[in-house]
């Protein structure tokens, strides 16, 4: 599977990419929303792993932009974020309107759990 990993922290991105690659995935990393659109434009990903908190354009902006292209409407997005679920009051909307299939709280999610979630999403897709 080709995973588009949108993660502004390069150290964390390295760890996530390494873990996902060990599972046989190809990981393309973007540090910003604009960079992610550019990467998706090069080759459509099978799954997107997204941090919502990013400098300049946040993950929600990315999602609205991403979903405004018909060819990317069906790409599953897994939110993996520092934003606590308790603060994400509009999680239902994220799921229903923006095609977020799962929301993981980064501090409470191990690398193994992230890999399992991606594998689950990839199988469902």
């Amino acid at each position: 599977m080709r995973i588009l990993l949108i993660e502004p922290d390069r150290l964390l991105a390295g760890a996530y990419a390494s873990a996902l690659e060990q599972q046989g995935h190809t990981v393309v990393h973007a540090v910003s929303a604009q960079g992610a659109v550019h990467q998706a434009d090069q080759q459509t990903p099978d799954v997107v792993v997204l941090e919502l908190q990013m400098p300049r354009h946040n993950g929600v902006e990315f999602l609205y932009e991403f979903r405004s292209y018909t060819e990317w409407l069906g790409v599953p997005v897994l939110v993996h974020s520092f934003v606590p679920p308790s603060e994400l009051t509009r999680a239902v909307k994220l799921r229903a309107e923006l095609g977020v299939v799962q929301i993981l709280h980064k501090p409470a999610t191990s690398l193994r759990q992230l890999c399992e979630a991606v594998a689950h999403v990839a199988v469902a897709a």
Partner: protein, 233 residues
């Protein structure tokens, strides 16, 4: 006007869709020309900003060429005001999208300038972290109702009797007014008075200073949301 075909206007992005492989169509709201649809050429394949050269949650000066049909061509965009703090908060960002979508949905192609100014005010309120987002949501819904000619009767019962401070009321959607019930109602004088202040068009920053604003928003926000569902398309 710069020449026969080139025009300049302030605008806010309402929506953008793809057009061919490399172009985007932007739907913009302007103060004087209602909604404007412009092709932003080649924005997808270059490192332009997300919305095709124009930031969302901003007021931008756009230069465009009028097309023969409904769609013009974007020539350039210059940022006038960017409400940058909105995107620093996920919930405010999502509400911002919601408000844009609501306004886009309930307005025709040539909405009055008041709708443009409403959206600018909403951005300013969302940009102010001290203003509660539920207050902004409720205020915006009320202003859409007001601008669409659906301000409820907040002073008298359907029969003409003045609302009193001693009585509790229910809202009648058929009459778009409060009616007294012998067994009491959910809305007392303070809530109805708050609705009057909201529907009078006061800004969220003003409403935030009303005593007990958070409680009053909690008491009235569902009613305003139901009014929107009932009266707006």
């Amino acid at each position: 006007m710069m020449n026969n075909r080139q025009e300049v206007t302030e605008a806010i992005v309402l929506a953008r869709t793809e057009y061919g492989e490399a172009d985007r169509i932007l739907t913009l709201l302007t103060p004087e020309n209602g909604k404007l649809r412009l092709i932003a050429k080649g924005v997808r394949r270059v490192k332009s900003k997300l919305a095709g050269g124009i930031e969302l949650f901003s007021v931008t000066n756009v230069t465009y060429i009028k097309g023969r049909g409904d769609i013009g061509t974007l020539i350039s965009a210059r940022l006038v005001t960017y409400y940058s703090k909105i995107v620093g908060d996920i919930d405010r960002t999502m509400l911002g999208y919601d408000l844009i979508k609501q306004l886009h949905k309930v307005t025709e192609d040539e909405p009055e300038a008041d709708y443009y100014h409403l959206l600018v005010q909403a951005f300013a309120a969302l940009d102010d972290a001290t203003i509660d987002i539920e207050l902004i949501r409720m205020w915006f819904g009320a202003q859409l109702l007001r601008l669409s000619g659906h301000t409820p009767n907040l002073r008298t019962e359907p029969g003409g009797a003045k609302l009193t401070a001693e009585q509790a009321y229910e809202f009648s959607f058929d009459d778009s007014a409060f009616v007294a019930r012998p067994d009491g109602g959910a809305y007392r004088a303070d809530a109805i008075k708050f609705l009057r202040i909201v529907f009078d068009g006061n800004q969220p920053a003003v409403l935030a200073h009303v005593g007990g604003a958070a409680r009053l928003v909690e008491q009235t926000r569902q009613l305003v949301a139901f009014m929107g569902q009932q009266y707006l398309r």
